[in-house]
Every structure is written in structure tokens, then in C-alpha cells.
């Protein structure tokens, strides 16, 4: 931004520093320290056993599946998996925290420093540090509605395994924060360690936001915005928070270190509690659990189960299918989409054609009807069958859209639709020539003008021919024949 720009731009004066703490619920069958089921949506307190209720005398037993998922994540972000980590108690009182402490990891987390690369808007890529990831148990839920001045407690969620993934304060804009969060979201789903369902709270985020004058190395005072459960909320909450902090400082005020809550209805953040009122969590190693020891063999066993990761897959799509980095990025944004694409190309059709149709017509149709990839009425087999008919000139790209719609509506595969609707291209030269002769005879004036040098009229003749053939003329062949006749 130039100095003589009239419009005020805070970006020239302030630098934004953002770090995210993502809570990903791990997709284990049972809870992290008990045998109770983790499925979402059961009747309140029906999936809470004695351990989850924190009854007197009960003890936690670590779920090995949660540990394997944490290792998987650590390997995927190129982090060091700790050979020894320790569970600690975080002590505070809250009605939905049954034991009066949360079992978490504090000084020694299971996953140490790693990183994740995100794409910036200008097409470049940026490496974001992952400070740590640790295992912990989720709390229950307080239900403030339906109890007339009282609070209900649902402990079904209590004890659900969480992986808390903490980033370095490397993010410099709300866009970067969202890009990082999306990348992480795709990654945990690739790894099949989290269902990523943000409405159900399976993947949620706390954002630490501060601003500092450009050029200053020291960090500004941060505010922590709690429990953001959509990409849009993350972006909006951070945007609001940046504006609030800058306005505050420019008005002579100071940012207070505090926890804030994002009110999605009002689009603003509000103070929850200042640090002075904050809890002293009195962390100490949980004496009910032994330190978590992970052997080299454990790590290698998990490594063997790692799927191809998004970045690697993207690069392979570029190399193997000749796609652009952008297209490869879109197609590998989710494992389902990438798998679908590869199923389409598996039949040997043109990879670029397959990419265009998958990202274009198919994605748009899914979007319109709000369907997941897995529920698509046009399967990979149906789509590849249709693409084969484009490639062998049975139908044109334009007619293919009609075929696609018919397949989407459940009218059968491409060949059936083409046959029933008579959509096969006319490639018989004599038939096309006869049609062209009729058009020339019916439009002498245009023929004269064209031959007089008005080249643009060529399109008029193509249009007339297409109209006469209901779009079924092979476009290349038609062009060739028209040119010959009109010359």
C-alpha cells in the first residue's frame, strides 16, 4: 500500500499474529479412559459409565486406539512422537467436568514440534509450525435451555478423546488462519482419526489473536477466542478481534489478556473472563495413569497404516495426470474427492477431461443438491462411461451435459441415455452435406456476404446446422464440410 493512498489501511501500520488451538475429537469407538461408546446424539447421559460420571473409586484406563491416532497425526505433520509422555490433571470446578479435573497432557505431550504447509492467496505456500499435539478427555455439556432457571448436565461427551493441536503464532491474517484450519481439517479426515463434523463439535478451534506495530518483534498482548466451530466464524471472529484491538490501541487503550467468546449472531467477540480471574489449574501428573511409553515398533506399526497424505497426493496428481497445481489441490482437498477422481480415470479416460468434469459439472450438481460425494447419484463408473463417449466422438461436450443430467436423474448409464434420446453425433458426411446444402439454399444473402469477406458469418452457418441437427453434428466435421462448401 503506498503512502499517498487516501483510504486508511490498517495493514500498512499493524501486523496481526494468530495462533490456533484445534480440538479434534478422535474417531475411536469408545472413550479415552472408559469403555463407554462415543457415538454422537444419544439420549442425555445414556453413554456415560461409572468412570465418565467420576463416581467414587473409579479409575481411568487409557484407550490404545486414541494413542495410535495421535501417533498417526504426529507422523503426518512430520513431528517427533514422544517416546514417553505424561498425563496430567488440570484442576477446576465446573458442573460438566465430573471429576473436578480434566485428564490432559501438560509438560510432556505425545506429539512434539511438527509443521504443515498452507497455500496462500497469491499461490505461494507457507510453512506453519505445529507446536505440539496432546491427548485429553472432553468435558460433558451444560444444557441451559429446557430446565426453567436450572442447568441440565449431559455427560455423554465426557471422556471423548480429543487431540489438541497447537500451532505456532505463525499465522498473519484471518485468511491464513482459515487456510491452516482447512488444511488440518482435511488432514485429520484423510487420516481417518476425526470425522471433522464441525456442527457436532468434532472439530473446533480456539484462536489466540494479537496485533503489533509493523516492524516490532515483541508480540502484542493476546486475547483468546474460544470455541469457534466453523471456518466462517473463525474468519469473522478474528477479523472482528483485529479491528477491536487496533481501535482500542489507537484510541490510547490497552489490550487485556483475556478469554473472549464469539457471538455469531452479533458478529462480535465478548469478554468471558480476564486473566486475573482465571483459574490456577494446578497441573500435576495423574497418579492413576502410568507415563505413556511408545516404542519404535509402535511408531513403525502406525506408520505402515498411513494413507497417502494430501500434499503427496497432490504432487502425484500433477506428475501422473498432468494437472495444474491448482486443479490437483482442488481434487485432493478431500480423500473422497480424490478417490472418486482416481476411480474415474482408472478406466483410461483423459485425466484432464475427468478433472474438468469432476470439479465442474459434478461438484456443481453435488453442491446444488447439498449431497456428499458418497451420495452422488452419478458414480465414478457412470461418469467415466460418459467421458468415454466424449472421447470416441459419440457425443459432443455440449450433448454430454444433457447426458449427465439424465444420469443424475437416474435414467441409466450414458449409452442407455444416448440411445434412448437419440443423442449420437451425426458423423455421416453425406447426411451433413445434405443439411449444409439446404442451409446454403435457404440463405443466399448470408452466403453472398460471407463469400464477400464477412468471415464472422461462419458462426451463423454453424448455428443453423446445429439447430437442424438438434446439436448432434460432430462440430469438427461440420466445420470442415461447411468451409469446403462455402469457399
Amino acid at each position: 500500500m503506498s503512502d499517498n493512498d487516501n483510504s486508511y489501511s490498517w495493514e500498512s501500520l499493524w501486523e496481526v499474529v494468530i495462533g490456533l488451538e484445534i480440538h479434534a475429537q478422535l474417531a475411536t469407538q469408545s472413550k479415552i479412559f472408559s469403555g463407554a461408546a462415543t457415538a454422537y446424539g444419544a439420549e442425555p447421559n445414556r453413554q456415560a459409565c461409572a468412570v465418565d460420571l467420576g463416581l467414587p473409586g473409579v479409575l481411568p484406563v487409557l484407550n490404545a486406539a486414541a494413542v495410535q491416532m495421535a501417533i498417526k497425526f504426529g507422523l503426518a505433520v512430520d513431528a517427533e512422537v514422544s517416546r514417553r509422555s505424561v498425563f496430567a490433571r488440570k484442576n477446576y470446578f465446573y458442573p460438566d467436568l465430573p471429576k473436578g479435573y480434566q485428564i490432559s497432557q501438560y509438560e510432556l505431550p505425545v506429539v512434539a514440534t511438527g509443521h504443515l504447509d498452507i497455500d496462500l492467496d497469491d499461490g505461494s505456500s507457507k510453512r506453519i509450525g505445529v507446536t505440539r499435539a496432546h491427548l485429553e478427555e472432553d468435558a460433558g455439556k451444560s444444557l441451559h435451555e429446557d430446565f426453567q432457571g436450572m442447568t441440565g448436565i449431559d455427560l455423554n461427551r465426557a471422556g471423548t478423546p480429543l487431540l489438541e493441536i497447537v500451532s505456532e503464532p505463525d499465522l498473519r491474517s484471518p485468511r491464513e488462519a482459515v487456510a491452516y484450519m482447512k488444511k488440518l481439517h482435511a488432514l485429520v479426515r484423510y487420516l481417518e482419526i476425526c470425522d471433522g463434523n464441525m456442527q457436532e463439535g468434532s472439530f473446533r478451534c480456539d484462536a489466540n489473536v494479537s496485533v503489533r506495530p509493523r516492524g516490532q518483534t515483541e508480540l502484542g498482548t493476546r486475547a483468546e477466542i474460544k470455541n469457534l466451530n466453523s471456518f466462517r466464524f473463525v474468519e469473522r471472529a478474528i477479523e472482528f478481534e483485529i479491528a477491536r484491538q487496533i481501535t482500542l490501541i489507537e484510541g490510547g487503550g490497552k489490550v487485556v489478556q483475556e478469554t473472549r467468546l464469539y457471538d455469531a449472531d452479533r458478529g462480535e467477540t465478548r469478554s468471558m473472563r480476564a486473566k486475573e480471574e482465571a483459574n490456577d489449574y494446578r497441573y500435576f501428573p495423574d497418579p492413576d495413569l502410568l507415563p505413556l511409553e511408545i516404542s519404535e515398533q509402535d511408531i513403525e506399526a502406525v506408520r505402515a497404516t498411513l494413507p497417502e497424505l494430501p500434499d503427496a497426493k497432490r504432487q502425484r496428481f500433477v506428475d501422473q495426470y498432468g494437472l495444474s497445481r491448482y486443479d490437483a489441490g482442488v481434487l485432493t482437498a478431500s480423500r473422497e474427492l480424490a478417490d472418486f477422481y482416481e476411480s474415474v480415470t482408472a478406466s483410461g479416460c483423459d485425466p484432464k477431461l475427468a478433472a474438468n468434469w469432476t470439479m465442474g459439472e459434478l461438484a456443481a450438481a453435488l453442491n446444488r443438491s447439498g449431497l456428499e460425494m458418497s451420495a452422488s447419484p452419478v458414480s465414478a463408473a457412470l461418469l467415466s462411461g460418459m467421458l468415454a463417449r466424449i472421447s470416441d466422438n459419440t457425443i459432443s461436450g455440449k450433448i454430454a451435459k444433457e447426458v449427465f443430467e439424465a444420469m443424475w436423474a437416474g435414467e441409466g448409464d450414458a449409452d442407455t441415455v444416448i440411445e434412448r434420446k437419440g443423442l449420437k453425433q451425426i458423423t455421416d458426411s453425406s447426411a451433413l452435406e445434405a443439411i449444409i446444402d439446404e442451409i446454403i439454399a435457404a440463405n443466399p444473402k448470408q452466403v453472398e456476404q460471407y463469400r464477400g469477406g464477412k468471415d464472422k458469418l461462419f458462426g451463423f452457418f454453424v448455428g443453423q446446422a446445429m439447430k437442424a441437427t438438434a446439436g448432434k453434428a460432430n462440430p469438427a466435421q461440420l466445420n470442415e464440410l461447411l468451409k469446403a462448401r462455402l469457399s
Binding site: 467414587p56 473409586g57 481411568p60 484406563v61 470446578f93 473436578g100 500435576f284 497418579p287 492413576d288 495413569l289
Partner: protein
Amino acid sequence: MHQMTLAGIAAALTAGEFSSEEVTRYLLARIEQLDPQLNSFITVTPEVALAQAKAADQRRAAGDAGPLTGVPIAHKDIFCTNGVRTSCGSRMLDNFTAPYDATVVARCQAAGLVMLGKTNMDEFAMGSSNETSYYGPVRNPWHTDAVPGGSSGGSAAAVAARLVPAATGTDTGGSIRQPAALCGITGLKPTYGRVSRYGMIAFASSLDQGGPMARSAEDCALLLQSMAGFDQRDSTSVDRPVPDYRAHLNDDIRGLRIGIPSEYFGDGLDPAVGAVIERAIDEFKQLGAETVPVSLPNTALAVPTYYVIAPAECSSNLSRFDGVRFGYRCDAPHNLEDLYKRSRGEGFGSEVKRRIMIGTYALSAGYYDAYYLKAQQARRLIRDDFTQALTQCDLIVGPTAPTVAFNIGEKFDDPVTMYLSDIYTIAVNLAGLPGMSLPAGFVGGRPVGLQLVGRDFDEARLLNVAHRFQQHSDWHLQTPTQFA
């Protein structure tokens, strides 16, 4: 019949001299008649007991009986018992009926042991005199003005008074051994991890350990056999085979090296108690053991170390008693903070509150390193002392407590003096080692306990040594006159 030991009742049941129902009814009647003098039970469970006794008799008739099937015992009220109130000696849990059985309770039940009731204890096992119980103090059968020791004071008194042949106890800082000593019975605190803590209401998780309390080493061996073993529900229990504890009871102890720690015979030890212990050591020598002087140089650190670690853990363990889901809730709370403050303020007694405050302080930001972390370092030094000493000897012998039973009220308002009554037992919990107390004599008509401390998982040796001692002495056979 009440003078019969666990082993004796088991033998009589096997011989068909009487049924489980008969001995159960007999002891229930005896509890009803005599316990008002002692207050050793919080809850007597006649229905449960008779149902279990009948079932045991049927098992026996069907030829499906184990060695202890049909033998009555009592459980300390710290062990959760399905369908029966589990109070932990606290107003906080006066209304709490556990919906599940502790592993120890389930194992005893599987062995066919009959539960007569739940014994009194210091509130949440915090105390050395059984005076902190919400249900009132327990009286020592040897002298009803005296305390029975604590925290397993109800179990100790009930066994000493021959109300039950044996009972379970728990020991966090001497809570099996000190009351066993003060009541003249035999008690064993196993190695940390030997007995499952699942369903045993936690006081200090890294120290708590359940164990048997009975009148003889042989009975302790029998009951421990039913209690011990790996439990996948307790991550700190150790997956290691349980030996046959009775198999080696009669092994010769000639050549056994008995370590005598000089620190356990210094200031603070009542000289008369010391003399009793010296005589017991002479007895071992006559049995062919040799004595080795050993040193536990960090003994003085044990009490201060314990009173950081145990309160720190308890301050967290007792957070679940918040008036929200179970247990005591104050009347008409006007908001959440009021609910917490009054439920906990009214539900807990003063000793529990004192320890929660000490522990909260020790874990607070800015104090953690100076207290909790330092205490963990001291704990390691204490453990190292024992490890070192136990390379020079096979087991360590000394007094269980510095004095005999003191009178009710005598130390109640002086917590530090009270805490010092556990000076010889506490270090053993910090070290995680097995320890045992057995009767060794009397001072002024009150029992003196002898403590044995062994290597990790060396319970069988402690039981062997104690059993040999008991075959050559009759201290463990003495009965308080009123309960003879």
C-alpha cells in the same frame, strides 16, 4: 466360635462342623450385642450376609467351594459395595449407595467370603485415630478410652474384639499397620500395585493400597490371596502372578538377615515400646535369624514429604465431591458457587478440609516446584534408602508406631503430633514396599506392634517371618477381656 480364626472357620466349614449361615448369624448377633461399645461398624448388612452365607452353603453342598467359601469378613467402608451404602466415613457420602463393587469386594465375593458389614474409618481415610469419622470415633477394645488407630480403625477394632475373624483395610500412610499395632492384630500393606485400587475411594492415589487385617499372619495370607492380583481396570496394578501365600508360611528362617534401622529407635520412640521391640528381635535371633544394622538416613523427611504428596493428590481426588451428581448437597443453593462452597463446606469434616487446603496450596502456581516437586525428589531419596538397606538384609524390622494407643481426644487438636504417630509407617508407602504389623507385646495393657518391611512383592516372606514368630509367641492370641 468367635475365637476361631479365618483358617479355623474355613476348616470347620469344610469339616461340616457348622454352616456358613450359622457362623454368620452368630457373628451378626455378636456385632449387634457388642459393637455399641466400640462403634466399629458404620453399616451392618445382615440381609446381604445371610444371602451370601446361604449361597456359600449351597456352593459347598454342590462341591463348588473354595478355601474361604462361607467365611464371614467385613470391608472397610472405603470399598464400594454394590447396593450398599459406601460412606468413606464422611457426611459427604452418607447418602451414597455405590452402583458397583470394588475389585477387592468382587474378588472376595467370588471366593465366597461373606460380608457382614462396612467398618468405620477416619473420614476419607485421613486420620490416625479414627476420630475424624462422621460416624463418631471407634474405641479400642483393649481400652475403650483409647483410640484404635486409623484410618482403618473400625476394621482393627472389630477384628481385635472378635466381631469378625478378618477385615479389609487400606493403607495410605500406615492406615492398616498403625491400627493393627494399636489393637493388637496382624495387618499387611502389600506392595503398591499388588491389590487393585478400582472401587477403593481414592485418598492419595500413588500411595493407597488395600490389604488384609486379621489375627494372624496365616489369616492375612488367606485373605490377601483373595484380594491380590492384576486388574485391567487399575492401570497402576501390576501384571505379575500371585504366589501361593500359604505355601511358604512354615519355611525355616534360619540365616535370615534382619535389618535394624537405627533411625527407628531414636528420639520419639517410647522407650517401653522400644524394649518390647528389642525382645521381639531377640525372639527372631532365637529362631536362627541374624540382625544387620542398616540406615535409612532420610527417615526425617518421610512425614513432611508425605504431608505434601498425600494432600496434593487428595485435593484433586476429592474435587469430584461437588454436590452435583452424588453425595451431599447443601439446602437450596442460590447459585453454582454457593452450591460448591456449602456442599463441600458442610459435607467435609475439618481434617479433610485441612488436607485439601494444604494440597491445593502445594500445587498452586509459584509453589509447585518448592513443594510438590521437591517432595517427589525427597520421595525418591526415601525409596533409595530402602532399596540400599534391603541389599544388606532380607527385611527390615522396627516398631510400627512410636507409642501404644493414646486416648480419644488426646492428640485431636494437635495435628502435627498426630501426624508423627505415623513416622515409621509412612516411609514404606512412599517407597511403595510391602509392610506388615504384628503383635509383639504390651505396654500398660495396650498392644505394641512390630513392623516388618520387605522388598517389592516380597509379601510371602513377610508372612513367613510373621507366621514363624507367631508360632513361637502368643501375643496375637491375647484377647481384650471384655471380648474374650
